[in-house]
């Protein structure tokens, strides 16, 4: 063994290995630079700002104080909204998206499948802004409430409520949940389902013991995508929450652009980053414990 290892390590081979390493470095360089300049550096700036104080005319003034962090409870409403509506939105997307993905991957005929998949994507062809405006009309005074009023159901207010924000969230993020689940269900070997049935498991038992665990990578990926993006959501609460239902994202815009209190805004932003890191790593650990075989495709 050692003899062969030595004979292999000729200077030519060593040189080839080294040039291979250079190639790897070269190929990774653009993304490394990108991440450093646009992620690590700004994050460091935010961290530094978060322990500073607001300059008298607004903005940042160098200092070292933890007051901004101690002041976080003042923005409790934004945290509470985000931390309830983001997980809830993810859950609703999962409950609505799984059956849809299941139907697309398992039940629909090959002829219809492509057509239906395109239908799931079609909304992306229109601007997100326009689609959210459409929801303002649907849920606003002249939309569904007017219809309900005409039917004698009384005066119902839908816009600028958690309900309207949730409508916008589920509508916007459902495809992000459907696709990863669809992929994991699509590559599920149908013979495993037959094997389960053959061994005495009825349709529901088969779903619980085979389909669900084997589509777990898709579920985990979908939930991660939706949850992470929802935590930073700004536009939907802005448009459908009308300042009454707001997320951390809205609070940040308010602090940076209205109050010009950059240090406090930075502290809120850091809090969001920390909350995401903690929840996501807890979630991944929990699913890794139950998931068994880890699929490389999952986040």
């Amino acid at each position: 063994m050692t003899a062969t290892a030595q004979t292999i390590a000729t200077p030519a081979v060593t040189e080839r290995r080294q040039s291979g390493r250079w190639l790897t470095a070269l190929l990774l360089a653009p993304s490394a630079v990108w991440f450093f300049v646009l992620l690590i550096l700004p994050l460091a700036v935010v961290l530094v700002y978060s322990v500073g104080v607001r300059a008298p005319a607004g903005g940042y003034q160098a200092a070292f104080t933890l007051d901004n962090y101690l002041n976080l409870p003042a923005r409790w409403a934004a945290f509470k909204n985000t931390l309830t509506l983001a997980p809830l939105g993810t859950l609703i997307c999962l409950l609505a998206g799984y059956p849809l993905a299941y139907f697309l991957a398992v039940k629909s005929s090959a002829r219809w499948r492509v057509m239906l998949l395109i239908l799931v994507i079609v909304p992306f062809w229109t601007s997100f802004l326009i689609r959210t405006y459409a929801w303002i009309f649907i849920l606003g005074g002249r939309g569904i409430p007017a219809l309900l009023d005409a039917m004698g159901m009384g005066d119902v207010r839908l816009i600028n409520t958690p309900f309207s924000v949730m409508c916008g969230i589920v509508y916007a993020y459902l495809p992000l949940m459907v696709f990863p689940i669809y992929v994991s269900l699509e590559k599920l070997d149908k013979r495993l389902l037959e094997a389960s049935e053959d061994l005495g498991a009825g349709p529901f038992a088969t779903f619980r013991q085979i389909t669900l665990p084997l589509s777990a990578p898709g579920i985990i990926t979908g939930c991660m995508l939706v949850f992470i993006l929802l935590m930073g959501e700004y536009l939907i609460p802005q448009m459908l929450g009308g300042g009454k239902v707001f997320f951390i994202g809205n609070a940040l815009v308010d602090l940076f652009l209205q109050s010009l209190n950059w240090p406090y805004g930075s502290a809120v932003a850091m809090a969001l980053v920390i909350i995401m890191l903690v929840t996501v790593s807890l979630y991944l650990r929990a699913t890794a414990a139950t998931g068994g075989r880890r699929d490389a495709s999952l986040i």
């Binding site: 013979r191 495993l192 037959e194 049935e197 053959d198 061994l199 005495g200 068994g292």
Partner: protein, 387 residues
């Protein structure tokens, strides 16, 4: 033997099969997929405790037949009965059968023990954990995979995966075990070993085994009965020996073992056989197959001669009691260890395959290019329907 404690004693199994009620029965079963008739009005009975094979090329309906027994398909007409009970409307998960799938279909998210115990965990009322663990361990020992329970299935070799699939199907003690080309993915040596093991296992557990295969050697070596299928129908149903010695037609003779075929028209018939005249005018006599139909004069027929019944001698030395003697030239010689195969070109008969045992001195001395004399007796050749 201790590990097979849960199986019934052999004597009891033998006594039960002596009364030989049918374990699996097809009554005029038809299954269509769109315009394709996969199984066309077939009826048969497989006796309890036997090893039965469906043999045929792909698309002959053998896999569909198996899936009809498993309950993955429902017949369009007729009915399937298992253990004397009609299975009409009974879903796969309520049938007393278990299947070993072609590519094993082991659950990738479970280890070996959880795969094997899967069927037991579905039982209602629930079995307790200790009972499940005990039976899983016993069954793993039965398929000679003791102490492998904690392994992940993808760490196992093909042969080991095969055994896990077998254990998973056997652990439920089904009335019938279905095997869908279970050995197709294994290499030749391993396949031989598994064939012997499957046979031993079947004898030990006394369960009816039903095998689907396109490999005639596999079917011949393991089965008590074989159904040869073509185009959704059973061409012949019988013991391996019957199929080999008394094929009903050319299709069966061609599928089971090897034969030389000489096609022609029937020109004379008698009680024991017929004369078939080849296109070159040569008339050859052959006897009827014990299971085959008798042809009438004017019909197309073939003479089927197994390679081992054709004699081969140096020129002029063939024995005198032959019904046919011809000279030919050796074209090819294939040494196969215990026997040698020659392809001999005979002017009026074409290329014939002849098989000599190792003990025949000619087997070693005869070389391509040599002239030789071939011949056979009419009672060793069969007159068969040409289709």
């Amino acid at each position: 033997m201790g590990v097979t404690s849960w199986t019934e004693p052999k004597a009891a199994a033998a006594a039960r099969s002596a009364s030989a009620p049918a374990d699996v029965e097809f009554r005029s079963v038809t299954k269509r997929f769109g315009p394709v008739v996969a199984v066309d009005d077939i009826s048969f009975e497989i006796p309890r405790g036997s090893f039965h094979s469906f043999l045929g090329p792909s698309g002959c309906g053998k896999t569909t037949s198996l899936r009809l027994i498993a309950g993955f398909e429902q017949p369009d007409a007729g009915e399937v009965a298992i253990g004397g009970r009609s299975m009409v409307g009974v879903p796969a998960y309520r049938r007393p059968v278990n299947m070993v799938f072609q590519h094993y279909a082991l659950f990738p998210h479970m280890n070996v023990a959880d795969n094997v115990g899967y069927g037991l965990r579905q039982a209602r009322p629930k079995l307790d954990r200790a009972e499940i663990d005990k039976r899983v361990a016993e069954t793993l020992e039965l398929v000679r995979l003791p102490k492998m329970g904690a392994r992940r299935t993808w760490e196992l070799s093909g042969g080991q995966q095969q055994r896990v699939a077998l254990a998973r199907a056997l652990v439920n003690r089904p009335t019938v075990l279905l095997l869908d080309e279970p050995l197709a993915a294994l290499d030749r040596k391993l396949r031989r070993d598994m064939q012997i093991e499957l046979q031993n296992l079947q004898r030990d557990v006394g369960i009816t085994f039903i095998l689907v295969t396109h490999d005639q050697e596999e079917a011949l070596s393991m089965s008590d009965t074989i159904a040869i299928m073509r185009d959704g129908r059973i061409v012949q149903f019988g013991t391996p020996q019957l199929l080999y010695d008394a094929p009903v037609n050319r299709y069966v003779a061609d599928f089971v073992g090897e034969s030389n075929f000489l096609a022609g028209k029937v020109t004379a018939t008698h009680t024991n056989g017929a004369s078939i005249t080849l296109s070159n005018g040569l008339a050859l006599k052959a006897r009827w197959s014990a299971a085959g139909e008798h042809l009438s004069v004017g019909e197309d027929g073939v003479i089927a001669v197994r390679p081992e019944v054709i004699g081969l001698w140096p020129v002029g030395r063939a024995s005198a009691d032959l019904d046919l003697r011809r000279q030919g030239q050796v074209r090819n010689r294939i040494y196969l260890g215990d026997h040698t195969e020659f392809s001999v070109h005979v002017p009026e008969l074409g290329e014939l395959m002849v098989r000599l045992p190792k003990s025949d001195p000619l087997a070693m001395s005869l070389q391509p290019g040599d002239m030789a004399e071939i011949g056979w007796r009419a009672d060793q050749a069969l007159a068969l329907r040409a289709t």
